[in-house]
């Protein structure tokens, strides 16, 4: 098969819509286009039926007992905001403390920051060197003022899978709500809100080959019944949890994407893991001084986060411009700070600057992996040839012993 450039290996950022998902969505743009809230005619009823069917599929995909526990949102950012701010506001009389980790997505961290400005207290538990949170540290952080613990299922940068089931045992025993940002993990690692005692869970379609602009918040209805203060005022849709006309086509696509994950996920993940391992093996065979970021075993099948020591990440991405990946380097963002996730793991800043994140997915091929690995080996060698740090390293100079002038 001929290789087509550019190659997409950034599936943690987003995924292409699967053709089968697109096909399922199309009738809902102009044939079954009704407003799901219209109770007076068939257009509305048909749209509502499609939405209710989708709720059940999505509920099943995350182990929820009923479609009624699914609240549709515009995406996971909104779901995270609704879960954290909505629960904090509702349960304020019970306590003012939240627990989360320092490697959560910004939608979680910045929601917590806002709550802090409103008088809440938040404990940000650091993760271990392998990018996984220590359950004991979560347990220790919980006080009698704690109302919510929020921990992600899988990290978007290093792909590490967090011990949600263990955390769920603790939060349940302590009668604290557990929110899980499950965006990166659904369909890719086991996730079951019932078995794991998760009370709130954020999910999104576009990381599992569904469309952008549609996500959902799972809100437990029994044992315990979770209540939220809505963050969007209007027509009282989604049982008052989230006003706004439902994105019916998006919802149908989301459900189709979940359906495909449930039927094909296990086989697909094994294939993707094979590709990921192949990429890692080929890079390690061709290059020295590589550092794998995140636990080697407890990680998403498609994730490979590697630091190419002595080479800067953005400079490296420029050398592989036909390959879409992302970097923990400062230079890729406006902030000039390297990845906060890698920093939280205790990685040296220079290695954070040298990191690339590969996100392999459904549509990647072995030929693509081989092309990318060979290209990287060649380009990293070239950049190391012009790197003063690599030269110093080869001369046996300890880079940490040098007094670098910060600028």
């Amino acid at each position: 098969m001929e290789l087509k450039l550019p190659i997409y290996m950034d599936n943690h950022a987003t995924t292409p819509v699967d053709p089968r998902v697109l096909e399922a969505m199309l009738p809902y743009f102009n044939a079954t286009f009704g407003n799901a809230a219209s109770r007076t005619h068939a257009f509305g009823w048909n749209a509502e039926a499609a939405v209710d069917n989708a709720r059940e599929v999505i509920a099943k995909c995350i182990g929820a007992s009923s479609g009624k526990e699914i609240v549709f949102t515009s995406g996971a950012t909104e779901a995270n905001n609704l879960a954290i701010k909505g629960a904090a506001e509702y349960y304020r009389s019970r306590g003012n403390h939240l627990v989360t980790t320092s490697i959560e997505h910004k939608a979680v961290l910045d929601s917590c920051k806002r709550l802090e400005r409103q008088g809440f207290e938040v404990t940000y538990v650091d993760v271990e060197k392998n990018g996984i949170v220590d359950v004991g540290k979560i347990e220790k952080a919980i006080t009698d003022k704690t109302i919510l613990v929020s921990v992600m299922l899988a990290n978007n940068e290093v792909g590490t899978i967090q011990p949600i089931a263990e955390i769920g045992k603790i939060t349940r025993a302590r009668s604290v709500l557990l929110h899980c940002d499950a965006v990166q993990g659904v369909g890719k690692t086991p996730f079951d809100v019932e078995k794991m005692n998760v009370d709130l869970a954020s999910v999104t379609a576009h990381k599992i080959y569904g469309p952008k602009g549609i996500g959902a918040l799972y809100v437990r209805r029994a044992r315990p019944r979770v209540r939220l203060v809505s963050q969007m005022d209007g027509g009282g849709h989604e049982r008052g949890n989230r006003s706004g006309t439902l994105n019916v086509a998006g919802i149908v696509g989301f459900a189709k994407a979940c359906e495909l994950m449930m039927s094909e996920g296990p086989e697909e993940n094994a294939r993707i893991k094979g590709l990921r391992d192949r990429l890692q093996r080929r890079l390690e065979a061709g290059l020295d001084e590589l550092v794998l970021n995140g636990d080697a075993e407890r990680r998403l099948a498609g994730n490979l986060n590697i630091s190419f020591a002595f080479v800067e990440g953005e400079g490296l991405m420029m050398a592989i411009k036909d390959v879409a990946v992302s970097s923990g380097s400062a230079c890729t963002s406006a902030s000039l700070e390297p990845s906060y996730v890698l920093k939280a793991m205790g990685l040296d800043e220079d290695l954070a600057h040298s990191s690339l994140r590969f996100g392999l997915g459904r549509f990647n091929t072995e030929a693509e992996v081989d092309y990318v690995a060979d290209l990287l080996v060649q380009k990293v060698k070239k950049l190391r040839d012009i790197s003063p740090l690599y030269e110093m390293h080869q001369q046996g100079i300890d880079l940490k012993s040098i007094q670098w002038a910060a600028h």
Binding site: E312, G315, A334, D350, P388, E391, W404
Partner: protein, 134 residues
């Protein structure tokens, strides 16, 4: 972020990559930046008896704009007198390479690297003169 054609050109064909003997009396070395900040430039000059930069070499750890800035810097200072080279400013580099605001620090680093290399060379000469004067 899109790179300018000139940045891409220098990045793909960097000029004057290499290492001069930093212990040599006629060589000045500037090492600026920090690995933790994501860019380190080493710029070296070889100066002849007339104070003219006969050769300039660099190695850079950094993004494409940092590599291009140091490549351009070596190209510009080669053949110039050290006083003249010392007057080169970061804005000249930034303008030539069309650097966007977030990449201006790359050109600043290149200017620092030139100045630091010249200073290192001058210090060596002064030390030699002091020795000769004894």
């Amino acid at each position: 972020m899109a790179y300018s054609d000139k940045v891409i050109e220098h990045y793909e064909n960097p000029r004057n990559v290499g290492t001069l003997d930093s212990k040599s009396d006629d060589v000045g070395t500037g090492l600026v930046g920090a690995p933790a900040c994501g860019d380190v430039m080493r710029l070296q000059i070889r100066v002849n008896a007339d104070g003219v930069i006969e050769d300039a070499r660099f190695k850079t750890f950094g993004c494409g704009s940092a590599i291009a800035s140091s490549s351009l810097a070596t190209e510009w200072i080669k053949g110039k007198k050290i006083d003249e080279a010392g007057q080169l400013t970061n804005s000249q580099i930034a303008t030539e390479l069309n650097l966007p605001p977030v990449k201006i620090h790359c050109s600043v680093l290149a200017e620092d690297a030139i100045k630091s290399a010249i200073e290192d060379y001058r210090k060596k000469r002064e030390a030699l003169r002091a020795l000769a004067g004894e």
